[in-house]
Subunit: 338 residues, 4 copies
């Protein structure tokens, strides 16, 4: 069990929210791929809190590439990207060293790390760590795009609303109320050829879900019709097929582009559900693990009333990394650079 | 990308539906664990088609343990279990060598294996392969139970019905109609201590979902409230906490026992959706990949109108293997035997 | 720590010397490769004891391919090969359940497996297991040869002699004396292109040595000049270079074809030392682990006075598997079939 | 093929000699282990060039721990250590961009990375990268020592001489001559319990050799008697055994503490040969890969006439990491902290 995703093209995450820096090491990148700083910055901006819908924290995501890039291109050796931590108000979190935030990782981190974890700002569990993930993926995505493979994650709904106007209202209302809301993201990957994946056990669904569940607050994933398959019949659900100028296509894409764990050439489509941000201003019952007494907690500090919109670029990034890894395994280590 | 699941305790599957045998190799089993043949047989029986709800195929699951067991106990070396294939009607499938069954793996297998796959009866993609998975898990589950860890998978609904009487009717109706139905399985794992899992990337959800998507026809997985989180608020969704005689518990288990990717000591709860069996008697549009012409297919042969009930023991088995692997990594290779 | 070698093209070994069968699962073989039964048989024959230089045991190596091959060609799914155990004289080994053979794995197996190992005939540590390894590699080697990659392992010396006449005499003399002899094998791999391998940590030397040390009795490995580098100077040892019609070559091959962990296009050359067979007829001091008393042992049964000559095909097989795996990782999963 | 070593306790290396920084990420460290800065510094000092026997380069090894340590103790999350590069004379290397140093990795790096590698100062192949490896191991070794496990690497010989006085003379003579010398290092590990390792394929020898061959210039490894086994007989070579107050011991340790790939409780002992530093002042025949013409090269710049003595701490460090990883796999992720 490691902090690494991927087999041939891997990303290892490190860092804590209030430590010196967060970062990622990308290994298995082929040599000769131009690193597009503007693109990296633009992806980081998508993740950064920007308006009243998010935390008022001012996160700076000034990254440094320590290795693996020479004269603007990848060398083929591991790329270490670091992002220093700056706007940290550690004092906001003093109370939370022992008071466990319900539905957050405070308690499980304490169990996993025997009390030695850096508890400030969520430590290694902070959503901030995803900035490194986004930066890492942004080194890969332009090369994927050149191969005709594009990944896009969009908001399907937030707080039960599908229209932007309405869900923005719901977010602001939750914020005013000291509460938070969840939602659903839809990801579409186009351009992956048919024949990628394994039946047992490295299915496309399995590889993607393994990674996507690392995105903080994701609690479910479904491909194509997903849970709606449960009350469909075979004839309703099956993707019937036809020949379209030497290519086999489906009339529908109920299976989200994957059959038997393997791509069928249709777009890969999946939904991921993001739970409401657990850190809220409302008073909740919880425990103090120092005194082992019941207590209550109304979180102070600067929190996101919703992270669904910010999580979109993270889900997109993780998806791109998994797809790039699977294709690199199939087509060889230099495939992405060809 | 391999046909192996697990890191410390691994299972590798092999075999095709109409080949000489299917089987599994379990590696990483500690020595000294009694192999319970009755339990293995009883689990295999749960998977086997038994009544009008399933295929009339008579599958015999007579397994042989070729290695890794000596005088009734595991030796600590790899256990190879084989199950010979017997009741095969290969002629039923002749038509299907080139006619792709919609929503089945026929076409993706052909892409993945360049036309060299054993197409008879679904080959390596056949649900029959799961017998080996069930047998493998049945070597592990009694030892897990001795540790107080129990895995149970139950039918949540089939064809939109939650009552056994009603869903049985729906299955029989689908069968009569040459159609099929899907459903949802719920799995509960009790006894896993708090602190198991990793935030990035080997979360409990990620590890389980990686494996569960290999169970044929699974198209979605959700933990706790899952997709219902999307329209909950934080205060509705959060699992508030309390102290119960030196243990920290939650009033609710909306997160299904996992926070930040790590177990919190509550039962692990997840749902998996099973799509309707894709092989149906109704005529469907499809392609002949030999002639690359459009055609139609009304599947003959003996098929399951529903596999949800048969899949329960498979999901249970896979879950047990993942849990045993995660705990073996955490507590050491001999943990299961202690 | 697993009984598997390889990352993209893997082999998992199972079986005990006196169990039902030994075998191997090959995963990651591309589809469409013809399986050459004659070649497999011929490689197994090279490993089998055949004359006065070896054990009088009559090992039959009749293998069965249970999966992964259809109509004579690989399907791309896991290949399970089994070889039943036949000519077993378990009674020969009764005394050895508790009396540990010096320098054999009896004692370490007992520590590793807590006394539950199948001790008969060396169990999972028996040289017999290498038959499965040879059979597995024999599925891969003809495809490697088509790529122009050939692996050859030859006897460099046995019992300090380099001439066949002389070392045969030494083996027979050792046999007559109830003793045994060791020797050195040299392996040459031609046809591997320059640029294969990683500096940290999957060097060609590291990948090969990792696998070669599994061949029973191997205790050292050296590339090129190997240990003779210790008293050379740079100018004596360096492989100076020249251009030979658009190819870069070296005047010498002191580095055995690998620099910085990566192939340079020259033949890969390494030596592996095989210790004298530990099971000998001479009386040795040892322990009875049942009574925990000192005792002596003069091994009965049918043993090899030398395994160097029989090990050659095993080293060759393991080498071929590692080379095929490294190239598959680099050039993609279907490379071997192209 | 990745720049990572280890399964449960892993180290990933990154960096180039003349880039911004080199470094390592350690994953799988248990929480609560005190980080001993003095020890890390002292190990780094052992590796640093210090006197006339080494390069006159002044390497500063001021490391920063970016993550994974909080209030002086490991948190259990990945530890990223970086060491900035300072005393770099890139101009020394201009000539070497295209002129390949014989027996160095210049040419193989160019093949592996298609000409995009950072060629300055050896780039990712520089011995300098080992500073990060030494720092990483220095986080682990004090915890190993508390468990009674000590690793020590000593010089066995340099330039054929075993006495320090004499080999120092030989190094200085080689330096004066624009040449270089090699040697042999011996490593001893005490305190590893019997029963660690696997027969196929993660033998102790295989795991160690896999890693040790990453130490620049290592070209061979042998356990116990190693290549001397080739002309020993069984009775001469076998390690006879006895009972020593409830422990099984051997009268000799010809097998270097490993039998059947598994530790027997005796010290693990192996030798590794280090070839003469390939970069020498003497004129050598080589190629210019830009013009693809034959040329000659007499290396300028500041080079080590011998790296055997500096490599000792590197071999020691790598050994400690492998031993810690194997024990962590066997005894569980928190074992090192218990």
């Amino acid at each position: 069990m490691k902090n690494t995703i991927g087999n041939s093209l891997t990303v290892t995450l490190f860092g804590e929210s209030h430590g010196k820096a967060i970062g990622a090491v990308i290994d298995g990148m082929p040599s000769g791929i131009a690193v597009d700083d503007e693109y990296i910055a633009s992806q980081l901006t998508r993740r950064r809190p920007q308006d009243a819908l998010s935390t008022p924290r001012q996160e700076k995501d000034e990254y440094t590439i320590l290795s693996g890039v020479f004269e603007g291109k990848t060398t083929g050796t591991p790329i270490c990207i670091t992002i220093p931590n700056a706007d940290t108000h550690s004092s906001d979190y003093g109370e939370m060293q022992y008071k466990m935030r319900p539905s957050h990782a405070d308690f499980t981190a304490n169990c996993r790390y025997n009390g030695f974890q850096d508890y400030r700002g969520g430590g290694h569990f902070s959503g901030r760590i995803t900035a490194a993930l986004v930066a890492a993926a942004a080194c890969v995505m332009p090369a994927l795009a050149k191969k005709g493979i594009c990944v896009n994650t969009n908001i399907l709904n937030i707080a039960g609303e599908t229209q932007e106007e309405k869900w923005k209202e719901k977010i602001l209302a939750a914020k005013a109320d000291g509460d938070s809301v969840g939602g659903t993201l839809q990801t579409v990957v186009i351009g992956v050829p048919a024949g990628v994946g394994e039946p047992w056990f490295d299915t496309v669904e399995g590889m993607l879900s393994h990674a996507i569940f690392s995105v903080p607050a994701v609690k479910g994933i479904e491909f194509g019709l997903g849970f709606d398959f449960a009350d469909k019949t075979g004839i309703e659900a099956n993707d019937q097929m036809y020949v379209d100028s030497d290519t086999v296509k489906c009339y529908t894409n109920n299976n989200g582009g994957v059959l038997g764990g393997i791509t069928n050439g249709m777009p890969i489509v999946f939904n991921a559900v993001i739970k409401p941000t657990p850190t809220i201003g409302k008073e909740q019952k919880t425990v103090d693990i120092n005194t082992m007494q019941n207590t209550t907690l109304a979180a102070r500090g600067r929190h996101d009333p919703c992270i669904v919109h910010r999580a979109a670029v993270v889900v997109e990034s993780v998806t791109a990394l998994v797809v790039a890894d699977m294709l690199t395994q199939k087509f060889g280590t230099d495939w992405l650079a060809k």
